[in-house]
C-alpha cells in the first residue's frame, strides 16, 4: 500500500518531496526487512512442508501402488488379514458418510446461521453462538466416545428400527439394527462440522450490506423472503466456502468415525449397515506398521484421501464459479 502511494506522490519540490523522502526512507527500515523475510520465509516454509508431505506420502505408498496399480483406487476388497488391499469400498464409505452428513448439517447449519444473524434477539444470539463455539472445541475423540456410549444404544434400539419401519423410505434403512452404521457416523460427523458451518455462514450472512435487506423489505418481501432471496444469495460464496470446509473435515475425520461406523469393509446395503471409510481404516490399521505392503497400503489410503479431498474441493470451486456468474446481485435474485 505504501509503495502505491509513494508512486502517486509528485516528484519535485517543496514539503511534499520531504514526505516522499521520509516514506522512501521508511521502506529501508529494519522492521521492513524482517517483515519481508517473515513473509517469504513463512510462505516458503509452508510450501516446503506441503511438498515434503506429498513427496513422502507418494514415496511411502509407491509399493502399494506398484503392487495393485491404479486399480488400488477402485478395487473392492480391503482385508489386511489376507493381504488384500483395495480402497474402492472405503472411498464409497467416505463419500457416502460425508454426503449424508452434509444432508444433515447444511440445512441445520445454514438455518442456525440465518437465525443467529438475522432473526435472533441479542440476548439469545450471544449465548447460542458461544455454545456452538464450544462445540468446535470438543476434541473429535470425545464426540466419538459420545457416539459410542450414548448414541449407539439409542440407534440400535430406537432410531434404526423406527427408520426401517417407515413407509416408502424404510428400504433405505433396512437390515440388522447394529447401532454403529453409516448413518450414525454421518450424524457424528454432522455434529462435528456444525460449528464450522454455522460460524462461517454466519460471517458471510453478516457481511451482506444492510441496504440489500432494506431494499428487499421495501419491495414488500417478508422477513423470510428477504433472507432467502436477498441475503443468502448475496452470501453464496461464503456459504459455499463453509460447506467446502465442512466437507473437508468430514472426509478426513478418522478416529470418531472408527468408533461409530462398525468398521465393516463391505459395500453398504443400506444407510443403517455398518461400513468403513478411508479414515477409519487408517486408524484401525496404522499400528500394524510392519514395513512392507501393509504399511504402504495404509499410507496409500492417506494419499487417496488427499486426492479425494482435492477433487471435491476443486469440484466445489468449479460449481461456485459456474453458479456465481448468473446471480451477480440482489436484484437478480429478487426478480
Amino acid at each position: 500500500m505504501s509503495s502505491d502511494s509513494t508512486g502517486a506522490l509528485p516528484r519535485e519540490g517543496g514539503p511534499v518531496s520531504r514526505v516522499r523522502a521520509a516514506l522512501l526512507q521508511k521502506r529501508t527500515r529494519p522492521g521492513e526487512h524482517a517483515y519481508t523475510v517473515l513473509r517469504w520465509g513463512g510462505a516458503g516454509l509452508f510450501a516446503a512442508v506441503v511438498v515434503a508431505l506429498l513427496i513422502s506420502i507418494a514415496a511411502s505408498s509407491s509399493q502399494a501402488l506398484a503392487h495393485s496399480g491404479v486399480g488400488f483406487l477402485w478395487s473392492g476388497t480391503w482385508n489386511p488379514a489376507a493381504g488384500e488391499y483395495g480402497a474402492g469400498i472405503l472411498v464409497v464409505g467416505t463419500l457416502l458418510t460425508t454426503a449424508v452428513a452434509m444432508v444433515i448439517v447444511v440445512p441445520i447449519g445454514l438455518g442456525t446461521a440465518a437465525f443467529l444473524s438475522e432473526l435472533a434477539p441479542g440476548w439469545l444470539a450471544g449465548p447460542l453462538s458461544t455454545l456452538i463455539g464450544l462445540l468446535a472445541a470438543v476434541p473429535s475423540i470425545v464426540v466419538g466416545l459420545w457416539g459410542l456410549i450414548v448414541l449407539t444404544p439409542i440407534f440400535a434400539n430406537q432410531v434404526e428400527p423406527f427408520l426401517a419401519s417407515m413407509p416408502l423410505l424404510g428400504w433405505l434403512f433396512r437390515g440388522e439394527a447394529y447401532g454403529p452404521s453409516i448413518l450414525l457416523a454421518s450424524v457424528v460427523l454432522a455434529v462435528m462440522t456444525l460449528p464450522t458451518m454455522v460460524a462461517l455462514s454466519r460471517t458471510a450472512l453478516a457481511a451482506v450490506p444492510v441496504a440489500d435487506r432494506e431494499a428487499a423489505l421495501a419491495l414488500g418481501a417478508t422477513r423470510w423472503q428477504a433472507v432467502r432471496k436477498a441475503v443468502i444469495p448475496a452470501a453464496r460464496s461464503g456459504i459455499q466456502a463453509a460447506v467446502t470446509l465442512a466437507v473437508g473435515r468430514a472426509m478426513g475425520e478418522s478416529i470418531a468415525v472408527a468408533m461409530v461406523i462398525g468398521n465393516r469393509p463391505a459395500l453398504p446395503t443400506s444407510l443403517t449397515a455398518p461400513g468403513a471409510t478411508l479414515g477409519s481404516a487408517i486408524v484401525n490399521q496404522f499400528a500394524e506398521a510392519s514395513p512392507g505392503l501393509g504399511a504402504s497400503s495404509v499410507i496409500a489410503l492417506g494419499a487417496v484421501l488427499l486426492l479425494l479431498t482435492v477433487a471435491v474441493n476443486a469440484g466445489g470451486q468449479a460449481l461456485l464459479r459456474s453458479g456465481g456468474g448468473h446471480r451477480a446481485g440482489t436484484a437478480g435474485a429478487l426478480r
Binding site: 482385508n79 489386511p80 488379514a81 489376507a82 441479542g122 440476548w123 444470539a125 450471544g126 449465548p127 458461544t130 459410542l148 456410549i149 449407539t152 444404544p153 440400535a156 434400539n157 440388522e176 447394529y178 447401532g179 454403529p180 472408527a258 468408533m259 462398525g262 468398521n263 465393516r264 469393509p265 463391505a266 455398518p274 477409519s280 486408524v283 484401525n284 490399521q285 499400528a287 500394524e288 506398521a289 510392519s290 514395513p291
Partner: protein
C-alpha cells in the same frame, strides 16, 4: 448487552479453573519430589542388603537410587493388570513411575522397534521378521502375565456359561448362524429356549491378541472356519471383518456387548470380569465345556512345559478342566540398554511384576504365572545389559 456479563462470567470460570489446575499440578510436583527424597534419606542411613543396587530379589526389587519415569506401550488386554501392579510398585518404590499406554499389541511391537518406549508389550511374541526390524538390537521377550479370552454375550434370558464349541463359534463369527434360536446353538448348548433374537457378533477392528487366540482355536477345531478364511495361519487382524461389526480395543468391544442385546464378542477375561459379563463355556481338547475362571486359565498355563517366544501357543491345550482360550502376555525390552539408571529401574520393576506382582493377578481376571514360566521370565531379565554390554543384574 446482557451477553457481555455472561461472557465475562465464562472468563472468570476459566481463570478459576486454570488457577485450580495450576495449584494441583504444583501440589502433585511437591508430593512426588517429597516422596522421592524421604526414602532416599532412610536408605543412606541404614546399609542396604542390595549391595551395588543390581540385585534382583523380593526385597531389592523395590529399591532403586534414582528417580526414573518409565514409558511403555502395547497390549490393551494386559492394561487392568499393569495398571494395578505399576501403581502398587510405585507405592512401594516412589522413585519409579510408569506410564503405560494400552494402545494395542501392534503398537507395543512397533514402538519397541522404533525404540520410542522403554518397554513394549504384546499378547503375541514378536516374529523373527519383526525382531529383525528392531532398531535397537536384540529384543528380550519376557512373559509377564497369563490371561484368557472370554466369549461374552448379552442375550436376555440366556443362562450363564452357555456351552459353545468351535464349529458353532465359527458359524456365529462367519455369519452362517444368525439367530440365537438357531437349532445348531440349541443342540450344542442344550438350551432350547433361547430367544428369537438376531446375533450381533462384534470383533476387534484393530489387530489384537485375543483375536489371534480365538482364531487359533477356530482353526484347530472348525474346518469350516479354515475354508471361510482360506488359511490355517492365524493373524492378529480379524480375517472376516465383513461379518458383524468391528470395535476398537477390548474397551470398544466390551462397551458394545454391554449395551447391545443380541451381541456376542471376545474380550480379555479381565475386561469381562470388570464388566460383569456372562461368558460362554468353551469345548476344550479334553471334551469338556469349560468357562473362563482364574483356575481354568491357570490350568491352561500349566500345560506350557517348554514355553519360549517361539513356542508360546497355549490355545486348546489338552488336560482336565483346561480353558481353551489362554495366552501369555509378553513384555519387550532391548537387551542392551543405553542408560544404566533407567535399565536398573526397568529390570527391578519387571522382576517385581513377574514375582510379587503376580499376587494381584487373580482378583483382576488373570492367573499367576506358573513357576517354570516365572523362572523363564526372571532368567530373561538377568540378560539385560548396561551400556557397556555386560549383564547388569545378579540374583
Amino acid at each position: 448487552m446482557i451477553t457481555r456479563p455472561s461472557a465475562r462470567g465464562w472468563k472468570n470460570t476459566l481463570v478459576g479453573l486454570s488457577a485450580l489446575a495450576l495449584v494441583s499440578v504444583i501440589a502433585a510436583c511437591g508430593s512426588t519430589s517429597g516422596g522421592g527424597s524421604t526414602p532416599s534419606g532412610s536408605a543412606t542411613a541404614t546399609p542396604s542388603p542390595c549391595g551395588s543396587n543390581t540385585v534382583l530379589s523380593a526385597t531389592c526389587d523395590t529399591e532403586t537410587q534414582a528417580s526414573v519415569t518409565l514409558t511403555g506401550a502395547g497390549a490393551n488386554s494386559i492394561e487392568p493388570f499393569f495398571e494395578t501392579v505399576f501403581y502398587e510398585y510405585n507405592q512401594k518404590n516412589s522413585r519409579t513411575t510408569v506410564n503405560y499406554s494400552p494402545a494395542g499389541s501392534s503398537v507395543g511391537v512397533s514402538d519397541i522397534q522404533q525404540a520410542t518406549v522403554n518397554f513394549g508389550d504384546s499378547e503375541i511374541p514378536m516374529t523373527s521378521s519383526q525382531l529383525s526390524a528392531a532398531t535397537g538390537g536384540t529384543v528380550l521377550q519376557i512373559p509377564v502375565d497369563l490371561g484368557g479370552v472370554a466369549i461374552s454375550y448379552n442375550v436376555p434370558g440366556a443362562p450363564a456359561n452357555l456351552k459353545l464349541d468351535g464349529p458353532t463359534l465359527a458359524g456365529i463369527f462367519d455369519g452362517s448362524i444368525t439367530n440365537w434360536d438357531s437349532p445348531l446353538i440349541a443342540t450344542v448348548s442344550g438350551v432350547s429356549n433361547l430367544p428369537n433374537l438376531a446375533i450381533k457378533p462384534v470383533h476387534r477392528a484393530d489387530a489384537s491378541g485375543p483375536g489371534y487366540d480365538l482364531e487359533q482355536y477356530l482353526i484347530d477345531t472348525a474346518p469350516a472356519w479354515v475354508t471361510a478364511i482360506g488359511t490355517s495361519t492365524p493373524s492378529r487382524t480379524w480375517p472376516l471383518a465383513t461379518v458383524g461389526i468391528g470395535e476398537q480395543l477390548n474397551t470398544g468391544v466390551a462397551t458394545y456387548v454391554s449395551q447391545t442385546s443380541g451381541s456376542v464378542g471376545f474380550v480379555e477375561y479381565g475386561y469381562a470380569l470388570q464388566n460383569g459379563f456372562v461368558n460362554a463355556a468353551i469345548l476344550d481338547a479334553a471334551g469338556a465345556y469349560v468357562a473362563p475362571t482364574e483356575a481354568s486359565i491357570a490350568l491352561a498355563g500349566a500345560q506350557a512345559a517348554n514355553l519360549s517366544s517361539t513356542n508360546f501357543n497355549v490355545v486348546n491345550e489338552t488336560g482336565a478342566g483346561v480353558y481353551p482360550l489362554a495366552n501369555f502376555s509378553w513384555t519387550l525390552v532391548y537387551q542392551k540398554q543405553s542408560d544404566t539408571t533407567t535399565a536398573i529401574a526397568l529390570g527391578k520393576l519387571l522382576d517385581w511384576v513377574v514375582t510379587t506382582g503376580q499376587q494381584d493377578a487373580a482378583a483382576l481376571g488373570y492367573s499367576p504365572l506358573p513357576a517354570n514360566v516365572a523362572s523363564l521370565a526372571q532368567k530373561t531379565i538377568l540378560e539385560i545389559e548396561g551400556s557397556t554390554g555386560t549383564p547388569l543384574f545378579s540374583s
